[in-house]
């Protein structure tokens, strides 16, 4: 299933609203990088509010998205990680230290605006 990517000025917004299977996660990675390339967006917010679990595979894909977008010159902020998901990820032994995070979509956009991405 394809996850929609919205453009807002120089930002891209992604809200994951589906049960994320491996293929959809990889598809998102590809689609998002392509969209960054097309739009030259300086920043991306990926909202994870609806996810009730992130396993090691999804975490790896998200981490890769952050690194790959960074290579292209676009900054990613992950937002809305649920308390239960934060606990589970750390217990699982995964830290997404490299990733910028924010409590919600609004704060995520603020962070990007503050670093010059409008």
């Amino acid at each position: 299933m394809r996850i929609p990517i919205l453009k807002l000025n120089n930002l891209l917004l992604v809200s994951i609203q589906i049960e994320l299977d491996d293929q959809s996660a990889l598809q998102l990675q590809e689609d998002l990088l392509e969209k960054i390339h097309q739009t030259t967006a300086g920043g991306v917010v990926i909202d994870l509010t609806s996810l009730d679990m992130i396993d090691s595979f999804i975490a790896k894909v998200l981490g890769d998205i952050v690194s790959m977008s960074g290579l292209m010159g676009s900054q990613v902020v992950l937002t809305g990680i649920q308390p239960s998901v934060a606990i589970t990820l750390i217990e699982l032994g995964i830290d997404l230290n490299e990733a910028n995070t924010a409590i919600d979509l609004e704060k995520g956009i603020q962070i990007l605006n503050q670093s010059g991405v409008q």
Partner: protein, 133 residues
């Protein structure tokens, strides 16, 4: 839930099916939101392990009662190649698939009880239990 569910792991989509069954089972047993996330994540890791290394296999979910305790038991069985070095497989960061290597040792931390039996050439059986607090 019915007290026993058996989800065959054959294709990648079965990982999601196992995860959904686990989420439903954990909800029905009234596990906390955090424990629901632990259970769902553990199932996802175990199912993916089968999918990547040891097809075909099954994820079995059981409601268990022991000494006035209620629990959910996840059993992951496969007829795959077996694990040569269980100690190594339980080390953080060990992976042969290019993943994060968090899978099996992570499951051990997420759940309360954890056992692993593996015979090279025959397969692996991992049992993990979460007790209702």
């Amino acid at each position: 839930m019915t007290s026993h569910m058996n989800i065959p792991i054959i294709c990648e989509w079965d990982i999601v099916a196992a995860r959904q069954a686990g989420r439903d089972a954990a909800r029905k047993l009234s596990f906390s939101i955090v424990d629901q996330a632990r259970i769902t994540t553990a199932i996802s890791e175990l199912a993916r392990n089968i999918y990547l290394y040891a097809l075909p296999g099954n994820i079995i979910l059981e409601h268990i009662e022991e000494q006035n305790k209620t629990g959910l038991r996840i059993t992951a069985v496969d007829k795959g190649p077996g694990i040569k070095d269980i100690k190594l497989a339980l080390e953080d960061g060990y992976t042969t698939s290019g993943g994060l290597g968090a899978g099996v040792p992570g499951v051990k931390r997420l759940m309360d009880d954890f056992t692993i039996d593996s015979v090279v050439g025959e397969g692996t059986k991992i049992t993990a239990i979460k007790w209702l607090k």
